[in-house]
Amino acid sequence: MFDLFSFLPRAVVQGMPLLLGSTGETLTEKSGNLNLGIPGIMYVGAISGVIGSFFYEQATGGNVQPLVAILIPLGCCLLGSLLMGLLYCFLTVTLRANQNVTGLALTTFGVGFGNFFGGSLIKLSGSELPSVILTATSNVFRRSLPFAGKLGWFGKIFLSYGFLAYLAVVIALVASYILKRTRAGLQLRAVGESPNTADAAGINVNRYKYVATCTGSMIAGLGGLYYVMDYASGMWSNNAFGDRGWLAIALVIFTVWRPNVGVLASILFGGLYILHMYIPSGMNLAVKELYKMAPYVITIIVLVLSSMRNKRENQPPASLGLAYFREER
């Protein structure tokens, strides 16, 4: 029997890393930067947070102060992903390197970085298993409202998550609002559509690209952090994050560059990812893999349909993937 009340919360926790990743990537792409380094950045965000909280837990012997236990990994995660964003910007914006190549190199680097330090921590912790477990920190991250449990199905579906999940939704909605309703959002869209025009209008194109891409990287990095601390209950094992970074990029296309749509779409993607467990035939391991294919297939369908309908608002930002040089002739 399909149990919606246990399915939905699990779909949500699956979806939130994707939501953060795709919100970050949407902001980035709106500035005309196709950052294919997002998967790497999410790895770096996750491992930076893990490193921070690992040493904090070691220092305190597991008796963590809740606020510090949140701030240290959060700060490390933001710093790590910011540095990745800066690197991407320096190469593609300042040095005008090819975005696809830079992004892929960043992903290679980021995934390697995550697995290397993850592996080192595992060794340091002397664990038998190939993973590090940060239970104390994770418990802080996973803490939900105390009365959530008393509210039955309502509490379970809406109130049972750690604070990062709500933050993810808020970030997505705020990002949507900024893009649609504020001057900064308007100028950012102009930069991504036509940097030439934006430049002629007196907008500092490079600054917008830097700020949007770095902010986007940090948001995406949070997605990695959420995955480790909340979804995986504080357990880091190498490569466990898998292809979620690419799924986040797929989500950007699926939502046609709208973070607010992403809130529900990410839960849909998350649901598709775990749907096999709730379907009778799902116990068949092979079929599980086919369900995991679904998000990519529907993304492709959306991509194709939007290009066939050719509605101007639903196209990728016009200068996506192109470096901007004012004096190009």
């Binding site: 294919l36 992903t107 893999e289 990519y296 991509l303 194709v304």
Partner: protein, 370 residues
């Protein structure tokens, strides 16, 4: 605004042209600089002196004849995928789906081995493998190409998504064909009969791959630079309007070139299954589809230079792997080093394409290196 300062400190202009040897000198400089940085990082992490690190890098590739063969085999496979994506790139069509296309080829080859292995003679199985895997790769690339040609669907995003469709498809079949039951892996296919295994040449298991790829490399070079198709690809890449103006059917060239691109990827998948690994896993291609993008771009889409760039990347990752085992580091260390080196090379392109004018006392200076 500061009116005392008469002009910005420097400004950037596009170079009219740089001689090829200067360009390669800049790239070489970037690689050297990157190696120095990598050496410093490694000796910081391991506490070893840099010389030992470089020695380890070198030994990772040439330490023994087995290592040298593995190096050559890896270069060949990376080069093969890089050659595959190059025609599409020359057409300014960003085929980021080489990973998926190669997997599709590998899947087809493995399917022939598993399903036809017990029924047909070895020769027939190998023939089926060759045909179906090349076809599968071509189809996998042909789908995005069709939509690109017909509705201008963004091929970068489409091909990227196709990678994961292929990965999941392979994962599915890995379970369906698992052996032994419950392992979730296919394991070595036909371990006893060796049906569908490509023959060793002169006792070397990898020689066949290397020879095939060398042939493809030369053929691709000739195809791109001297054939009518290659010329059409170049024209379409430079300007679709010009191509239409001289009567080139742009849609047809896009589809044909992507089919070729996918077919060569399929060939890479075939070689990986039939010759190198004799098995199928979702990670069989090992990210070469993405590394190939960098190999091809670094070589400026020139097949001959690509031998050099793929050597460089394989050499580094083998070296980094050696460092990892020698000094007790995690094998992912190699990815970090590869990343660092790529950043340097990517950054160095700026100094090839642009020049910086400093405006000090009205004089102009040029920087030419990193």
């Amino acid at each position: 605004m500061n009116n005392k300062q008469r002009s910005p400190l420097f400004h950037i202009a596009k170079r009219s042209a740089l001689r090829w040897y200067s360009a390669w000198a800049i790239r070489g400089g970037a690689v050297l600089l990157a190696l120095v940085v990598c050496g410093v990082i490694t000796s910081q992490v391991t506490g070893e002196d840099p010389i030992a690190v470089y020695k380890a890098i070198f030994e990772g590739s040439f330490g023994s004849s087995r290592k040298a063969w593995v190096l050559l085999q890896n270069i060949a496979m990376l080069l093969c995928v890089s050659l595959a994506v190059t025609p599409a790139f020359r057409m300014r069509c960003w085929n980021l789906g080489a990973e998926g296309q190669a997997l599709a080829g590998a899947l087809a080859a493995a399917a022939c081995m598993i399903l036809l292995g017990p029924k047909l003679p070895n020769g027939a199985v190998i023939l089926c493998m060759i045909v179906t895997s090349i076809l599968a790769g071509a189809i996998w690339a042909g789908i995005p190409a069709f939509f690109k040609a017909k509705w201008n669907t963004n091929e970068t995003l489409f091909t990227l998504m196709m990678n994961y469709v292929a990965t999941q498809l392979v994962s599915y079949y890995c379970v369906v064909w698992e052996s032994p039951k419950g392992s979730g892996n296919i394991g070595i296919i036909n371990p006893n009969t060796q049906i569908g295994w490509f023959p060793s040449i002169a006792g070397q298991k990898y020689l066949l791959n290397i020879l095939v790829v060398a042939l493809v490399c030369v053929a691709m070079y000739v195809y791109l630079n001297y054939s009518k198709h290659g010329y059409e690809i170049a024209v379409v890449g430079e300007s679709e309007r010009t191509a239409r103006y001289v009567g080139i059917k742009v849609e047809r060239v896009i589809i044909r070139t992507m089919l070729l691109s996918g077919a060569v990827c399929g060939l890479a998948g075939l070689l990986l299954v039939g010759s190198t690994n004799h098995t199928l896993t979702p990670t069989l291609v090992e990210g070469r589809g993405f590394t190939a993008v960098m190999v091809s771009w670094l070589a400026k889409f020139n097949p001959i230079w690509m031998i050099l760039t793929s050597f460089l990347l394989v050499f580094l990752s083998r070296g980094a792997g050696e460092i990892a085992t020698n000094f007790g580091l995690n094998s992912s260390f190699g990815d970090i080093l590869t990343g660092v080196i790529l950043f340097f090379i990517i950054g160095s392109e700026f100094f090839i394409n642009y020049e910086i004018h400093f405006r000090k006392s009205g004089e102009k200076e040029e920087t030419s290196n990193v």
